[in-house]
Homo-oligomer: 203 residues x 2
């Protein structure tokens, strides 16, 4: 289990009179689904996504819908939240937690009050709280959040889609870590558009 | 054709009496075959490759032998040269050009004099010279060289193998460029070891 990751034990009967099996169960796990340029950026320095939006991916299913189905909710940063708000219609059905120390409840538009809430907690405390609410899986979105959740050992898997373009500079997906993190390659799929999606489990 | 890339024209008979076809033919093309950590580094800051060497890839063929077969020779920087020298036996059969402004002929060991030569030329001038010698394809090796050859528009394709590990910091494969570079995804293959190799053409 990754360093810093909270854990609990679950005992389950075998149904045959023998002593129950002890499962080592992780807390709410973080799941990342994100696209980067081939040189590893999630956005240009100013947040611009033109290089991503211009890709012709009509009819392709890169796995986002399946992940959305599997998670109990989303955790995102202020930047991602404001980005999503700028799109107009709110795209998420599941509950969303915005991690921010600067936003206040007044920053949440009225029509989103039942879907979106704020948290000023640190990643570990938040995941602990979500676990107590019954969340098993959380989709973790946003460049900075991804880095801090990885560093805290709260990420279970990363689904990374490589866009076939070099943009030279921008906001990197990955940041510094305290020690190497070995990954287990789960699957890779390439698409007619040139996008390549690989899923890795953190081990 | 990429910015800065030299070109020539070749006329070829159709064999049916009609006027010959004019082919727009590139000069010697640069080909990259390199591995990076999932976070995009070719080596740790001090050049260390322990994270790469520990991968268990026995029996896997990631395409290097086929590339070596296809190229007329290799172009590498001083750092890569000294790295290869440190391995002991010289692994290359084809001619190698070391791009360096600081090395002198005395730095080439005697037993490599017929296989290795130095060039202090800039990338474009070197590729022009290699073209005049009849080289069609050159394998371009080494982190810094890859960046300068891409910037100069001298690279035709990139075969990139992703190692399933995050190392947090190191020497990045890609660097700044003057403008976005669109890539065409050619193929992707994943291996039992967890390595994923993708080939891209620069368009």
């Amino acid at each position: 289990m990754a360093r810093g990751q909270a854990a609990r034990y679950r005992f389950e009967s075998r149904g045959d009179g023998r002593s129950p099996v002890c499962y080592h169960e992780k807390m709410t796990t973080g799941h990342i689904f994100i696209a980067t340029s081939l040189d590893g950026y999630v956005a240009r320095r100013d947040g611009e996504l033109d290089w991503l939006m211009k890709q012709k991916t009509d009819g392709e299913e890169h796995g986002f819908a399946a992940l959305m189905e599997a998670v109990d909710g989303l955790v995102m940063g202020r930047g991602s939240f404001q980005n999503v708000l700028s799109f107009g219609d709110w795209p998420y059905i599941k509950p969303v937690v915005i991690m921010s120390k600067s936003l206040t409840p007044e920053d949440i538009p009225d029509h989103l009050r039942d879907k979106v809430r704020l948290s000023s907690q640190e990643p570990e405390a938040l995941m602990q709280a979500l676990d107590e609410e019954g969340w098993k899986k959380a989709y973790v979105d946003g460049g900075k959040l991804v880095q801090s959740f990885i560093r805290a050992g709260l990420v279970s898997d990363i689904t990374l889609t490589r866009i076939p373009i070099l943009i030279g500079e921008g906001l990197p997906l990955f940041g510094s870590i305290n020690q190497d993190i070995d990954l287990e390659h789960v699957s890779t799929e390439s698409f007619a558009s040139g996008l390549v999606t690989s899923k890795y489990r953190i081990i």
